[in-house]
Symmetry: C2
Subunit: 143 residues, 2 copies
């Protein structure tokens, strides 16, 4: 029941971009250094964010990445679902599921409530909330 490094790193990456936004592109190497994450691995992760247009990229020397929208426009849920896939605790509470036992499954109640609780958290927190939290309670340079 773990969020994988892919989702966690994606969130830190997006947060790093939000915090270090000066209008100039931020290179992946810088992010990797700040976040202490393998830059080669980050490359794969940001390529997902890039294809989904969560970030925009600028190629060549002095290139890098920028958020393509304002931080308020990203929820944690959007970022995690994109990189992790579904956050549903079991397959049978996903939209397009069809479990034969569903009608008669009391355990299903647990999974639905768990699913709602998880979504309730990740869909309520935006990147802007995290930026504010980082600035106020944590200090600008630690993410």
């Amino acid at each position: 029941m773990r969020i994988s490094t892919k989702g966690r790193y994606a969130l830190r990456l997006m947060l790093d971009l939000a915090v270090n936004d000066t209008g100039e592109p931020v290179s992946l190497k810088d992010i990797a250094k700040r976040q202490e994450i393998s830059d080669k691995y980050l490359e794969q992760i940001i390529s997902v964010l890039n294809r989904a247009k969560f970030v925009k990229s600028i190629r060549g020397a002095q290139g890098g990445y920028l958020l393509s929208r304002r931080p308020e426009a990203y929820t944690v849920g959007m970022i995690l679902r994109l990189t992790e896939g579904s956050l549903a605790p079991v397959a049978c509470v996903e939209e397009d599921s069809s479990c034969g036992r569903m009608q008669g499954c009391a355990a299903n109640m647990v999974w639905r409530r768990l699913n709602d609780a998880i979504n309730g958290v990740v869909d309520e927190i935006t990147l802007a909330d995290l930026v504010e939290f980082a600035r106020r309670d944590v200090g600008e340079y630690m993410i």
Copy 2:
């Protein structure tokens, strides 16, 4: 971010024992048949529940298993944590964790809230709740 079959089956197994409790031991073969789960796999799962004294076993012919406490005494969280291990979405929100970045990690706030939300659900629902739900809303014979 999935609950594995081990935890899911364990919950269904315990619920089956609760619903089919007549005072007589229930054989694993019967549970496996009702739940449509491999009996050999269920064996491994129930051995965990047995070692933790969540169930008591009666060996030999006509043997089987019984809940060792009343259904109200088991929360879903107890059962899942025993079989799944920790339910924490990331290692750094576990009791005995020591992440160097913790002090300065805004993302950590997400994981803590997620952790609280998950625990809030699984620690509030007991086996007795599920039995009642099954009897009332689902029908006695479907679990």
